[in-house]
Symmetry: C2
Subunit: 275 residues, 2 copies
């Protein structure tokens, strides 16, 4: 039986969120263990930094768990990610870690430290979405050995890969938890940002992606209306900034802030870290 620990390094979930996962985990021969910290609240966060850090460490450092599943994004994992990775023990090394959006800070920090199998993929709170059960089942399937939920371009990808929310990657860049991405295909996605902000983020991110093998663009959703049209669509913006830095733009990726968000395990498809 695959044993999955759930914690919330950013914002809290509700018991209803947890119940949606508990109702279907048995279909995959998985047991899920919801850390009570998932329901904590302190201002913006699911408990203060110390509580969120302790819960993550309890999940990651417990040899009884095979995977750590992040409950929800929002904002806040960057505040604990550096300390979190520094306090991981041997039991953390062989787990699978899955999340996206704000969880990119932790995914980046874990990947930089070469800890575990780091995956960009659905979270517990995605059960709230229309069709969200499919997202939960995609994650549970991946944790328990299915590979149908993998992002489709990975089938033919020879480079190591990584995937991030664009804002998260922009804020990671140049910090002590930014992983080296030279030689990687980097997938990005975004939600609820104006197109001018996408352009601005791409200006920044492409300046930090020297040596990457290429960029793929996931979905850019819920773009707010501006007082005037920007003059280019998201894919044109991304391709333009890639071209300015001689980064190959490789087309679309099947990731995004939605129920269709597919699983992207960081590194090589073989599961071996690139050297």
């Amino acid at each position: 039986m695959t044993s999955i620990a759930i914690c919330a390094p950013a914002c809290p979930i509700t018991p209803e969120d947890a119940a949606r996962v508990e109702a279907i985990a048995g279909d995959y021969g998985a047991s899920v263990h919801i850390h009570p910290q998932c329901y904590a609240s302190a201002g913006h966060f699911a408990g203060d930094d110390a509580l969120r850090l302790a819960a993550f460490l309890e999940c990651a450092n417990d040899p009884a768990f095979d995977a750590v599943w992040f409950a929800r994004g929002g904002y806040g994992s960057n505040r604990i990610a550096q300390n979190a990775v520094a306090q991981l023990g041997a039991a953390a090394a062989h787990k699978c870690y899955m999340g996206y959006s704000d969880m990119g800070y932790l995914l980046g920090a874990l990947y930089r430290a070469r800890v575990g199998r780091v995956c960009h993929g659905p979270m517990v709170a995605d059960g709230r979405r229309d069709g969200g059960e499919a997202a939960l089942r995609r994650a549970l399937g991946y944790f328990t050995g299915e590979r149908e939920g993998l992002e489709p371009s990975l089938a033919d990808e020879k480079h190591p890969v990584a995937a991030f929310n664009l804002t998260t990657l922009a804020m990671l860049a140049g910090t002590p938890i930014m992983p080296g991405l030279a030689g990687h295909v980097v997938m990005i996605e975004e939600v609820s940002e104006h197109l001018y902000a996408i352009d601005r983020l791409m200006f920044h991110v492409t300046a930090h992606l020297g040596g990457v093998a290429g960029v793929r663009l996931g979905r850019v959703s819920d773009v707010p209306d501006n007082d005037r049209p920007f003059g280019a669509e998201a894919q044109e913006i991304v391709a333009d900034w890639c071209a300015r830095h001689a980064i190959p733009y490789l087309g679309r990726a099947d990731i995004g802030h939605d129920a269709d968000n597919h699983v992207v395990p960081f590194g090589l498809a073989t599961g071996v870290h690139p050297q």
Copy 2:
């Protein structure tokens, strides 16, 4: 007579904006020259990149002008700043350049290249604000030799200084136009960002400000309501991230997206670039 060229490296202004400046420039013995590009429009921008770049270069490289005043922020100067600085001639070297917000990309690029006297201060479009005439007069006064409009902490400041919009500084960090700010007091201000976004930007920016002499916080205005309180105010957030990186937090600065925005000339108060 001080001759001031006005161009718009990001978003356009209207003839009404220009008229507000023209009506009072004579009080300062200044002549203002509005480049027609200020009224151009191409999607989000005041003309496409080539037009905005050409207008800036015409203003900066013309020996007849003593100053280049940026008309308005918005978004877009980052798209031309690196090319702009690369094409400056000798006549650009002794001019004063003033703007803020999105103009921080150009201010940063100019300061990095040690071109001219770079100032964070009011722009032409500030005439639209309540009390905006005072902002226009503060800028015109500075261009023509008055020093009453200087940010007050500068009177006792022995370190070189720089000032930026926080988002702009975050996006500049690590790019080819980011100036070295070691030893500087860095002033920041922000508008229309959630407090969680301020926290996220400070996480990023403080990781890039190693070796600065300190940080001062200008006004953080028009913070949108979130679905729950963040749990800390802007000044606490800034002081916390400074403390995490052992950067002295020095208190407030009299800058912001408002009519009281004071003038911050980059570098030492003597006008000499730090070595």
